[in-house]
């Protein structure tokens, strides 16, 4: 039970991010108003250091046996699974900060609080991915939530932004009420809040007690699981708990939207998979049909709503719902075990690169006060600004899932998992949904390349270096993950393997 320095060492990336948040807050006090732009750069340091640590730890394990450490009793698990999701969160955060550097200055947002809250949110995500116990999981979920509520409303002078964050907060607090009620019921049914023990040393965990006491039909436990799913589905923006998405994604500042759509969703799925595959795997036959229905609803409604949008920001918001549906397919394919989890991880990273990349182009094309986000603003972009158009084209075909891009392989691996789990119907729905999504993604490409505007109507684009770097990094990731997927996929599958308990 004693916590040693060695155990704290396993939390190095988390602690670095937390210290970074404190450093940003303190520096904010001493810097004169005009020099606060450096805070964004300061925030990049801990994120970069943490990413380096995580990648090194994953690299060290990719060849040999994977390592799994219990930290603080069994409250946290430092396993390749959590490291893999840390990569997703840190990439999303680094891209998010790069997107913010110019934006925060231009819109005169409070820089110190902005970057500190971003780092707090990342810290919450990383703790969520590691939590193997419900109290810890819930507190990490709340760190993430509170930081993101404020980030969504940080442009205090804009009524749309304030309104979006109030709505998000009220619905989020409502959803977390359901989540804790669920935890309370699960605790009542089992007498413990520990999800599972991957090393099989302790039987007094939720997954162990379900087997030992045969709690398969226990109303208390099943209702608790259902409420837990509702609480997490809200964060992951799964239909029918997605009502907040379009308003919040449109009202929040663009870099925050980009960070939320990738990072918060990934964190919700990280916790979701740990919960279902770890704690409740013996109830798989109960929750699989539920996920099946949710996945179909999410894919169908997300795509159907995205088709109707003329505003690119709103289109991306709705289409991000559809992508949550694809991830749900992988979770429903739980009998494919590590293949299913590996495809969740791989797709989360892929979506982060292509989704945040597309939002970066919105910032390049957009103007002050979030103007210029209509589809018509992309008319003739290719002839005016070929590089921006090429990058946007790449992100669009990747989101649509065309071959040789990361998006294609991501969907391919999810389909593979679904077929292995004999979920043929779900695989067909996923395929059809992707075909539908071609329409609205390719429409953007068509507007950029196939239409022309008179010279007088040409508008300037933003040429900030930080945006250029973000777009380049995202584009490289999309290409690299699409053309050379083997390393990333091997790591993802190994990470998936360690999520599962021994002998399962």
């Amino acid at each position: 039970m004693t916590t040693t320095w060695r155990e704290l060492g396993y939390l190095t990336p988390e602690l670095v991010v937390l210290l970074g948040a404190a450093a940003v807050l303190l520096l904010d006090l001493f810097l004169p108003r005009g020099r606060r732009r450096v805070l964004g750069g300061v925030a990049l340091v801990p994120l970069g250091v943490a990413l380096g640590w995580v990648l090194r730890a994953l690299w060290a394990q990719s060849g040999g046996p994977s390592q799994l450490h219990k930290v603080f009793g069994a409250l946290l698990l430092r396993d390749p699974y959590s490291l893999g999701f840390d990569v997703v969160f840190l990439v999303a955060a680094i891209l998010g900060v790069l997107l913010s550097l110019r934006y925060v200055e231009r819109e005169a947002l409070p820089a110190g609080e902005y970057y500190a809250l971003t780092l707090f949110a990342v810290f919450g995500m990383m703790m969520m991915a590691m939590s193997a116990e419900l109290i810890t999981l819930f507190i990490s979920y709340e760190i993430l939530s509170l930081a993101v509520y404020v980030l969504a409303g940080i442009a205090r002078g804009r009524a749309v932004s304030a309104e979006a964050s109030l709505k998000y907060f009220l619905l989020g607090a409502f959803a977390s009420g359901f989540l804790v009620y669920g935890i309370a019921l699960v605790y009542g049914a089992t007498g413990t809040t520990v999800l599972y023990d991957p090393l099989g040393q302790s039987a007094s965990t939720i997954s162990g007690l379900i087997l030992e006491r045969g709690l398969f039909g226990n109303a208390l436990l099943l209702a608790g699981l259902a409420l837990l799913v509702v609480g997490i589905a809200f964060k992951a923006a799964i239909v029918p708990f997605h009502a907040w998405v379009p308003d919040v994604y449109e009202g929040a500042p663009l870099p925050v939207t980009a960070f939320m759509s990738a990072g918060v969703k990934a964190a919700a799925f990280a916790a979701f998979a740990r919960l279902l595959f770890g704690g409740f795997r013996n109830l798989g036959e109960v929750w699989q049909p539920v996920l099946w229905v949710l996945a179909v609803l999410t894919m169908v409604l997300g795509n159907a709503a995205a088709i109707r949008q003329q505003n690119v920001k709103r289109m991306l918001a709705y289409s991000s719902i559809a992508h949550a549906g694809y991830l749900l397919v992988a979770l429903a394919a739980y009998t494919a075990r590590d293949v299913a989890i590996g495809s969740v991880l791989y797709y989360a990273l892929t979506y982060t690169a292509m989704g945040v990349g597309a939002f970066a182009i919105l910032l390049v094309v957009g103007q002050e006060g979030e103007a210029n986000q209509e589809l018509s603003d992309y008319r003739g972009l290719a002839s005016r600004h070929p590089w921006a158009a090429a990058a946007m084209g790449l992100f669009m075909i990747s989101l649509a899932g065309f071959p040789l891009t990361a998006g294609f392989l991501g969907k391919f691996y999810i389909l593979n998992a679904a077929l292995r789990a004999d979920l043929d119907g779900l695989a067909v729905v996923l395929g059809l949904a992707s075909v539908v999504s071609w329409y609205y993604y390719l429409r953007v490409v068509w507007f950029m390349y196939m239409t022309e505007v008179p010279k007088a109507a040409v508008r300037p684009i933003s040429r900030a270096t930080s945006l250029g770097v973000a777009v380049a990094v995202a584009a490289l990731l999309v290409i690299a993950l699409g053309v050379f997927p083997s390393t990333a996929l091997a790591v993802a599958q190994m990470a998936g393997h360690t999520l599962l308990p021994l002998g399962y």
Partner: protein
Amino acid sequence: MSAHQLAFLVLGVLILVSALMVVTVRNLVHAALFLILCFAGVAGLYVLLQAEFLAVAQVLIYIGAITVLILFGIMLTRKITGGAQPPLASHWKAAGAGAGAFLLLLLYVAMTGQWQVSDQPPMDSTTTLGLALVTRYVLPFELASVVLLAALVGAVLLARDETR
């Protein structure tokens, strides 16, 4: 019926009636005062459950901090008398139906769910809690400080007047 059961029923009625008032009365200050009454009833339940520390914490945090915060919020944002606005949204019937259906589900669970009642005598709650918070649950305890810091930064930022 024993004294304990009687006390439970009295507290239960107090909690539910004041909770209903909170969600229906027009005047928000009255709603906040009923909220205090409801919280006090819950503190009484904790005493019945031999959770003395939680009863005190309930009074200090919910009644002392949260309700006062809410009262400040009400006074900063509207006229105390409540105004002429109807308190409930036009879809209140649908909301009632939804909440009612959900209640039936929860009641079904509470009636049919099974749990293992332990026959061991309860521990002294304050000592046990204090020890657990610095041993087994030291990590959530530390994480709580991060929650409070993030909330503090956010709340100060939002409440601060931008013109200054």
